[in-house]
């Protein structure tokens, strides 16, 4: 793309798709914005009229909203920490030459192919269930009281389930990054007297920074919208203990049938996502260049 004319041609060529993508994005956003200022409740006959910022102030004054905001960030942060740390460790482990490596890798990747409600059901009924679950059986085996995961630790349980689903993704990315590390670099470090721990710290970890950045950015996008796992297991409860922003919006839109208020929640969620994205890019975005 060096000459003037090829550059112009290139712009003309991409223009239609840019235009379509723009429409694709702006129409739903504009409609959400429109409804967020409207009175639009499906259960009441009159569905018209502007309400100004009422919907927004309702959110900001609701204690549930601040809890939901905290829960959303805790969910994203918790899952990120768990998947990045465990992902790096598992990737290091399955990068070792072992018998049946192909099979092992497929097993590690498998959870990613389980759809969220199914994964959540499996965890709820087979692992965390107070009577039938594996964990309660283990607890009873030790003579202890079974832990009521979803009742007493609802948010942590959801974090655990979501981490289990996203761990394969992180592991896979880290594994490919590890495989691109030249073995000569590790051998050179070994000759330079670096212990395995120092090799990890000074050679492997810096090599992985870009992969870690990619994992954090991609996962954040998806984790901000986590819904299915909560819906299947805790329903946002007990009380609002595991309600996140998306789940709160869902409650307004589908349970309370208040479209206007849900739209305002949606706009707040968009703003939150942009704030998170801004700080992420400022914090770790530089690792993406070069």
């Amino acid at each position: 793309m060096s000459t003037q004319s090829t550059r112009l041609a290139a712009r003309l060529m991409v223009a239609p798709s840019v235009f379509v993508l723009f429409i694709w994005m702006i129409v739903p956003l504009a409609m959400t914005l429109y409804f967020s200022f409207r009175f639009y409740r499906l259960l009441t006959p009159e569905r018209s009229g502007w309400v100004g910022l009422t919907h927004y102030t309702w959110f900001l004054n609701s204690p549930d909203f601040w809890l939901a905001l905290f829960n959303t960030l805790a969910l994203v942060g918790g899952v990120l920490v768990i998947t990045v740390i465990l992902g790096v460790l598992i990737a290091l482990l399955i990068d070792q030459p072992v018998k049946g490596q192909g099979m092992l890798r497929i097993l590690v990747i498998a959870p990613f192919f389980v759809m969220p409600p199914v994964a959540a059901s499996i965890w709820e009924n087979l692992f965390m269930h107070p009577q039938n679950g594996l964990f309660s059986a283990i607890a009873r085996g030790f003579g202890a009281q079974p832990i009521l995961f979803l009742e007493n630790y609802p948010l942590m349980s959801v974090i655990g389930i979501v981490s289990w689903e996203w761990l394969p993704f992180a592991t896979l990315i880290f594994l490919t990054a590890l495989q691109s590390l030249s073995s000569e670099q590790l051998e050179a470090a070994e000759m330079d007297g670096a212990s395995p721990l120092n090799r990890f710290r000074y050679i492997i970890l810096p090599h992985l920074t870009r992969a870690i950045t990619v994992v954090i950015l991609i996962q954040t996008i998806f984790l901000l919208g986590i819904f299915g796992e909560i819906f299947t297991t805790t329903q946002g409860g007990p009380g609002s203990a595991s309600t996140t922003l998306p789940y709160m919006i869902f409650k307004q839109a589908i349970v309370a049938k208040d479209i206007g208020r849900a739209a305002a929640g949606g706009i707040i969620a968009v703003i939150l996502a942009n704030i998170v994205a801004y700080f992420l890019m400022r914090g770790i975005g530089r690792h993406l260049d070069n």
């Binding site: 470090a189 000759m191 330079d192 000074y202």
Partner: protein, 332 residues
């Protein structure tokens, strides 16, 4: 400091015996070059000495102590890799200081040693750059710098110059030789380039299929090759081999004459037709097909006015004829 002794060292990868059993001793302060064709096991042998590869059997002793099962870091050797293996996310300074940092040396001592190494290798103005911002020759020097700061008992080089262009290679060759002369540390240098081997080595080890064919000084190998392999491998252009009746006249199964030891003289004993000629200015290389059907190469000094298809007569210099028996070994 820096004496390395290999005894019956064997290495196999699964079924394949890459090194069937090598005895070799390297004296302190020597510049030893391993040469051999591609795939003959040079790198493997070097990695065995470095400890990056486990021996299948046999012992490696460094300075009289058995090092066969010591980890690489404990052997006191430094290695320069073909791909340099610099740490891309560290500055040149940090790269060079890395082995010192791993050894737990104080910051001040690290800085002093890095400074000294950088001065020796002309790297002082690049210390704050990343390896990605350096040229091939500079990267090579950083890799050497990282090796010398530790003051190892021996250096191991695996084809360190093969990624450089011809002019830079000559320069780096001299730098490494000078480095050896000033440090007086044992160096083991792997290459498949025989010019490097001939110009740098105190002692050349010619390897073929994992076996040592001959060990000796460059001129020893040139003048007295012990077998056909060494005779054909050392020297450029390759030595001419002639078999049959002509060899029988000298009481050998094969005789070898280097291209530079064949003279074009009227009435010479070997008659032939000139094929390809290569004019290098300083020398002329002639490919001559003898009447007996064998092809030989002649290296004539200066410019020779012969053309494709001309008839020439060649005379081998009698004292420079190498004789080999049917088993390929040189005859006394």
């Amino acid at each position: 400091m820096g004496k390395i002794q290999l005894t019956q060292v064997r290495k196999s990868f699964g079924e394949v015996d890459v090194i069937p059993g090598i005895d070799l001793s390297i004296e302190d302060g020597e510049f030893v070059v391993f040469v051999g064709p591609s795939g003959c096991g040079k790198s493997t042998l070097l990695r065995l000495i470095a400890g990056l590869e486990d021996t299948s059997s046999g012992t490696i002793a460094i300075d009289g102590k058995d090092a066969t099962h010591l980890p690489p870091a404990k052997r006191g050797l430094a290695m320069v890799f073909q791909s340099y293996a610099l740490y891309p996310h560290m500055s040149v300074r940090k790269n060079i200081a890395f082995p010192l940092k791993m050894a737990g040396m104080s910051e001040a001592e690290q800085a002093a040693r890095v400074e000294r190494a950088a001065k020796v290798l002309n790297l002082t103005s690049y210390l704050d750059r990343r390896p990605g911002q350096l040229s091939g020759g500079q990267r090579q020097r950083v890799a050497i710098g990282r090796a010398i700061v530790r003051e190892p008992s021996a250096f191991l080089f695996d084809e360190p110059l093969s990624n450089l262009d011809a002019a830079l290679r000559v320069g780096m060759r001299q730098e490494i030789t000078e480095l050896h002369q000033s440090l007086k540390t044992t160096m083991i240098y792997v290459t498949h380039d025989q010019v490097e081997a001939m110009t740098m080595a105190d002692k050349i080890v010619v390897l073929n299929a994992g076996r040592v064919e001959q060990v000796g000084s460059p001129l020893e190998l040139y003048h007295r090759p012990q077998n056909l392999f060494v005779a054909g491998f050392i020297g450029s252009p390759k030595m001419n081999f002639i078999e049959g009746a002509e060899a029988a006249k000298h009481g050998a199964a094969t005789i070898g004459v280097r291209p530079e030891h064949l003279d074009i003289v009227a009435g010479g004993p070997w008659q032939g037709t000139v094929g390809l000629t290569e004019h290098l200015g300083s020398d002329t290389y002639l490919k001559v097909t003898l009447d007996s059907g064998e092809g030989v190469t002649v290296r004539a000094p200066g410019e020779v006015a012969v053309r494709h298809g001309d008839r020439v007569a060649l005379a081998p210099q009698a004292a420079k004829i190498h004789r080999f028996g049917a088993d390929g070994k040189a005859l006394a």
